[in-house]
């Protein structure tokens, strides 16, 4: 590989509900961008590209990303690359930026995710327009309706109860309560989760992510050209993306995440990870709905089939456990669209950089796994492995 790519800076704004947010999308993106530049210890003139995303239909414009970047105040000559892969847009930003850096065409690229769900009044209607036209769209499915298919299939396969799904939510909220950037920072009980408003069986409202307003930015740079920076780089040791068929009915089995399992094998091989459960110090995965985190832990070989909930209940995935997972509270507690999808990458990179928010930092974290997913019936998956790259001049 000619060049190595690393995350050298990340900025995450505090999250709010859209109703309470006083800033525009551009203003939030500016905050995140300048926080990332400040973290890296650099200025916009060292950037030579921007990778930014939007999701058609969610923002009342199809030109959101183009106009956004222009208004950031970074300079007039920055080439902009726009990613639009629906719900995985944010997760794919770093994948694209890292390819640009690895190829040698760019040396320092800003990845920017804005608050994509921020303005849409009829979010589930907008999401239904992303469901396959002609065949599946007439049936009426928003995001959590599609998510619920897997929740029911998984429950039936392993005999899980609503309380089992609720246990995942309880753990996520407990973690989010300690993350200063999180949106839902209150704790919940299993009873409150199980008895929440039913949305699409078996999911209740507390089992489903909120709509948040926040922005996330990261700087991906040539890992061997960091002398002018002050952060500890997070080397992107391995990464990859994978896709299922477009039609929801093309999935082989809703009770397991086969596409993610395939991708994990590929990415682990690239990083020479042979015993995943033992080799990661911290994990951040895109799990907006209660059933997703246990299923993803299983697909990632971090829990045995059907054992994801038990692992979460055991405390292993909590702070101080053997496999701290989603210490940010995850998208279950903060989901700002493209920003929400980029967030697992930002938090995982910050962990190995030693720069996560102090209450959620895993002491001495050196290797992290980050994950994103989205699209119709979560057809797209993306993964990356970060490793701390101690500076030779430190």
């Amino acid at each position: 590989m000619p060049y190595r790519a690393a995350v050298v800076g990340a900025g995450i704004t505090d999250a709010t509900s859209p109703r309470k947010q006083q800033l525009s999308a551009v203003e939030l993106c500016q905050q995140a961008t300048w926080a990332a530049l400040d973290h890296a210890g650099t200025t916009p003139d060292t950037l030579d590209g921007v990778v930014v995303g939007n999701i058609d239909g969610f923002e009342g414009t199809v030109l959101g990303a183009r106009n956004l970047t222009r208004a950031l105040g970074l300079g007039a000559d920055l080439p902009v690359t726009i990613i639009n892969t629906g719900g995985t847009t944010g997760g794919n930003l770093m994948q694209v930026a890292a390819r640009m850096v690895r190829s040698g065409s760019h040396a320092r690229v800003l990845c920017l995710g804005g608050p994509t769900f921020f303005g849409v009044r009829d979010l589930q209607s907008a999401i239904n327009t992303n469901s396959p036209m002609i065949i599946e769209q007439p049936l009426g499915m928003g995001a959590y309706h599609m998510g619920a298919f897997a929740a029911n299939a998984y429950r039936q396969r392993y005999g899980l109860t609503p309380e089992d799904l609720a246990a995942v939510v309880v753990a996520d909220h407990e973690k989010a309560s300690r993350n200063p950037h999180a949106h839902l920072r209150y704790t919940v009980t299993e009873d409150e989760v199980v008895n929440g408003r039913p949305l699409s069986s078996p999911l209740t409202q507390p089992m489903v992510c909120p709509v948040s307003a926040a922005a996330v930015a990261m700087i991906v740079a040539d890992a061997d050209d960091v002398d002018d920076l002050r952060s500890t780089p997070a080397l992107i040791r391995a990464m990859g993306m994978s896709s299922d068929p477009y039609l929801g009915g093309g999935k082989g089995d809703f009770a397991e995440m086969q596409n993610l399992a395939t991708l994990a094998r590929r990415v682990y091989a690239l990083a020479d990870v042979r015993d995943p459960a033992a080799e990661f110090d911290v994990v951040e995965i895109f799990a907006p709905y209660a059933h997703m985190q246990p299923m993803q832990l299983e697909a990632l070989q971090l829990a045995p089939p059907g054992g994801g909930v038990e692992l979460i209940r055991s405390g292993a995935t909590s702070a101080g456990g053997s496999l701290p997972t989603n210490l940010s509270g995850g998208p279950k507690c903060t989901n700002a669209g493209v920003a929400g999808e980029l967030a697992p990458y930002a938090y995982a990179a910050l962990q190995v950089m030693g720069a996560a928010p102090e209450p959620i930092q895993v002491p001495g974290a050196r290797r992290a796994l980050a994950h994103g997913t989205g699209g119709t019936f979560f057809q797209f998956e993306n993964l990356a492995i970060f490793e701390a790259l101690p500076r030779s001049d430190a």
């Binding site: 109703r19 309470k20 209607s125 298919f149 299939a153 408003r197 999911l203 929801g248 009915g249």
Partner: protein
């Protein structure tokens, strides 16, 4: 309480999506109460709805078969909460494995007692047999199948 200044933007757009040869044949079949699928010549998987190419083998799928209007319900969800422009809740959407199909067909499923929300999975456990119910007026669209109903025979 601070106010958050917002101003409304509204989209109301119509589109005509070209079905192409493969989905047109499928839709013509529905009008005649037939569920047509096609087959990958390389891996022999049977696709319903049909698709012009096999996504695994990248082969043209030019062999057609008719599937029976019956199959197994592998998974479903009950939408308790709908959305603007969507169907009126509650409604159940299922993934149905028609006999002989390699893919699932998504469609509405009826026959659930929505007044017993805690027993939904027990009412139609994975693998329950279901049968397509044809709409009386068929115009060549997916809702020419009105829904699937449990096959309790």
């Amino acid at each position: 309480m601070t106010t958050t200044p917002t101003q409304a933007v509204h989209w109301d757009l119509h589109y005509d999506i070209h079905l192409g040869a493969t989905w047109s044949r499928f839709m013509d079949g529905l009008r005649d109460r037939k569920i047509l699928a096609n087959v990958c010549p390389s891996c022999d998987r049977v696709f319903v709805p049909p698709q012009a190419y096999c996504e695994s083998c990248f082969e043209r799928t030019d062999r057609w078969v008719e599937l029976p209007p019956e199959g197994s319900l592998e998974v479903f969800t009950v939408a308790w909460h709908g959305f603007r422009g969507g169907p009126t809740p509650p409604y159940a959407i299922g993934g149905i494995r028609l006999d002989g199909a390699s893919t699932l067909l998504m469609h509405w499923v009826i026959g659930l007692d929505f007044t017993e929300p805690t027993t939904l999975l027990a009412q139609l456990p994975a693998g329950s047999r279901v049968r397509a119910v044809w709409a009386p007026q068929r115009t060549g669209q997916i809702l020419d199948i009105a829904h699937f109903e449990p096959d309790r025979d």
